[in-house]
Symmetry: C3
Subunit: 340 residues, 3 copies
């Protein structure tokens, strides 16, 4: 399936690109080089020298330009060649690489691989919670040898935590779980509620394991594959009496048809100045993903290969509703774009 082109894809975390270190990543089959200019703003150019086709990330940044590491051609942030290697070689006007709209917001670097004139910051999904006061974020990156939509499916059907993340997250209320799905123009939100259940192990470091509560997992999906999880807990039947709330971002960008980038940002309102807490949360997120989710996703991908999941007639379950709607919404947008 083709990619949605006129959309923002997460390229990386703000802290991943500095004036000392650029970064290359492939997004939706486009090889990109993103670097931070001396004024601290970002530039995104095609990571490929048009002379002999080596990646520009093998070169180096000199001020605001990128110099190819093979024969020294230099390119500016707009992609134009500003210097050619040997005196006497005229710089052709056609000597340029493609440049891409790039935006930095809420600690996230977004790139637009579609038509540049359509790039619209109003289309950015809302991750403003990340920059609210009195929060501490821990962000990370993990690579997956699986299509990005398989990762989105995984996140949109959190019943999987009962099995995939059983040791820390299985709930004794699982059999009573309630699922509700909402949808608007650009997003799908899944609510998974474990009513009147004892907290699973992962919550027992701040909740009494013997006191039942209503636990709600609210997973919001935005086009193309940007998710936000809010988990809230309250005494059974007292939603107004919220005891805790945790927020996190889970954003998946396609690298190729069969590989993807998974970015997570865990955001907390307690122990803000405790670096050990940072590391504990990072370890929890990464080990859970690497040891438990990723092997599932990659096993799916090996089976599915270059086919589309839905073309294989998967058995449908109630818990798939959100993932199926998100897939459908994305497929429709891609189809519209193809006709447009």
């Amino acid at each position: 399936m083709p990619y949605l082109k006129n959309t923002w894809y997460m390229f990386g975390h703000s802290h991943e690109v500095t004036t000392e270190a650029f970064r290359n990543r492939t997004i939706a089959d486009e090889t990109l080089l993103v670097y931070r200019k001396t004024d601290n703003t970002l530039a995104a150019i095609h990571d490929l020298c048009p002379h002999r086709f080596v990646p520009l990330h093998k070169g180096r940044q000199i001020g605001d330009i990128i110099q190819c590491g093979y024969h020294g051609l230099e390119f500016g942030a707009d992609g134009r060649c500003v210097k050619s290697p040997v005196a006497g070689s005229p710089i052709s006007k056609s000597a340029c690489v493609r440049s891409y709209p790039v935006v930095e917001r809420d600690t996230i670097i977004w790139v637009w691989v579609g038509e540049p004139e359509k790039a619209d910051e109003n289309l950015l999904p809302d991750y403003s919670f990340l920059t609210e006061p009195n929060r501490r974020n821990v962000g990370g990156y993990l690579h997956t040898k699986a299509n990005y939509q398989l990762s989105a499916d995984n996140l949109l059907d959190l019943t999987h935590v009962q099995f995939v993340h059983e040791s820390l997250q299985a709930s004794e209320a699982f059999e009573r779980a309630e699922i509700r799905v909402e949808q608007d123009e650009d997003s799908v939100t899944s609510y998974l509620t474990f009513p009147n259940g004892r907290p699973s192990v992962v919550f027992q470091n701040f909740l009494d394991p013997e006191v039942p509560l209503d636990l709600v997992f609210e997973m919001r999906w935005n086009l193309p594959s940007c998710l936000r999880l809010k988990v809230t807990g309250n005494p059974p039947g007292e939603p107004e009496n919220q005891q805790f709330e945790t927020m996190s971002a889970h954003i998946v960008s396609p690298e190729t048809e069969q590989t993807s980038h998974y970015f997570y940002i865990n955001s907390r309102t307690t122990e803000l100045d405790n670096p050990e807490k940072d590391e504990a949360l990072r370890a929890w997120q990464e080990q859970g993903f690497i040891q438990e989710d990723k092997p599932m996703l990659e096993a799916q991908q090996r089976y599915i290969g270059d086919r589309d999941l839905m073309s294989l007639n998967p058995l449908g379950l109630k818990a798939d509703a959100a993932a199926v709607r998100a897939r459908r919404m994305l497929a429709e947008r891609i189809a519209e774009e193809g006709q447009g």
Copy 2:
């Protein structure tokens, strides 16, 4: 070339599947999960959850059912889904995985990947020697990145031991070797005789290296790729006066077109209670295969690729007779099946 479908393939050794540990293997491109139920009988089902296409071997066995490790669907030995993950999700009648006939006989687990109604235990090749009294068996498993028929060729032309396994098995009678082939409806048997020769190194731990004998290697091949080796020795010209006999099973199952499973079972009538002998025989079988046969087979496969050996017009030698007949018999059965 397609596989013969209506036939028994060795899936594994009996000891490889217990009530505590199931096993997954791909046989003729079918991914199978074989598990042992609480009554000790076996079940074989497709190793793929029809919901989101993860292998069921990533889940777990609970009594007589298999629970998918992703979202918890449960399947019985007949392949029918008996439980769906979240209360309220009805179990569709179509929610099932394929199940396969599976038989356990003579310490071997056999599976049938063709039409289930044609599965007939009378078609099992005879390995009853393995369960005769006063024998001790040592069985193992080795994987090969080569088509299963190349392994069968290797076993059916034992003149290769003179070169491939020279240090232990080369015979000074090699130049006088005699080859004879017999054939019936389902089997081909090759007799390779080294007349009046001194025993090769491997026999010298129980034979006098200076006393010549007639040595006969009888290799029986059964459809699809099941071999049994009997080696006998006797004073020159006195076949009735047999000095020793050793038996072994060598069974090759296709995994994919270009990879295969090799199972061996060395069966002896001496030193039955000597575990050091077990380990010595295992080491001899496995080192010989891994260091000497497997590199040859895999080099052949790399050259042959997705072509058929016979389509490459191999130079024919007298010693190929048994392998060529076996290939022809198998090809005829596959062709018949395609028409049937």
Copy 3:
């Protein structure tokens, strides 16, 4: 693109093939086995037994014949089968492997994979400097996962040393560099001159870093991909007053479409009996290639894949002139051969 067939390809260095150790390499998709007969001359045969298609290099050399390691067929230097494994198997006249013209000259082993009757030693490129008196050669071999023409491009445009090999070879005269290209029927020669510049780091172990000189890199390319580099230095404007000259061979043979063999021979006229100098030169050549050139070439290849570089419309620079002429000459010869 097809290979030029009626041409000499470097197979290896003379010292790589001894009567004790043959060598197999794939040249232009032909798997070759080259061995040294007891009279010290060379033989080159197809590295593939026609019986069961194992490579002959898995066998062994016995005198002037090669014995297959699987079932013992024996082949002579002309490729004819001279012995078949089991007594009674007649040797078919058609039992032979292809043999190839092979020549050893100037410490280089050359093979001809085209029509044998066209093999002509007069077509060998001139590397006679290697066997002039009072020289000491250090030769080596490096494998590259890149098409051989990408290596030739690299060598024919030495402006790359300014960037790829910056730490040792960047010249402060780079901006003033002059490029000149000559061409005759079978060769292209590029002259890159750094006028009136201080020697780069690599020359400072025998040149005064403060004294400017004219430095000329003369790179001669012969069909199909055989290069010779001569570097000379003289006081500015005094070419007749040559201060030093170094010579080296850089020969690239295609292995497959996307991989190649790079052979270098560094030849010096000083410190002839100093083995430490040998090792220093070897280390310099190999580290420079492995750490600096090879990653560039392999990154190009990954992007180019199975396409032809020129079909991708590379941006043309003045410094490409020699490489472009060499590619054109080779393409023309290949086209002529296809029609012939």
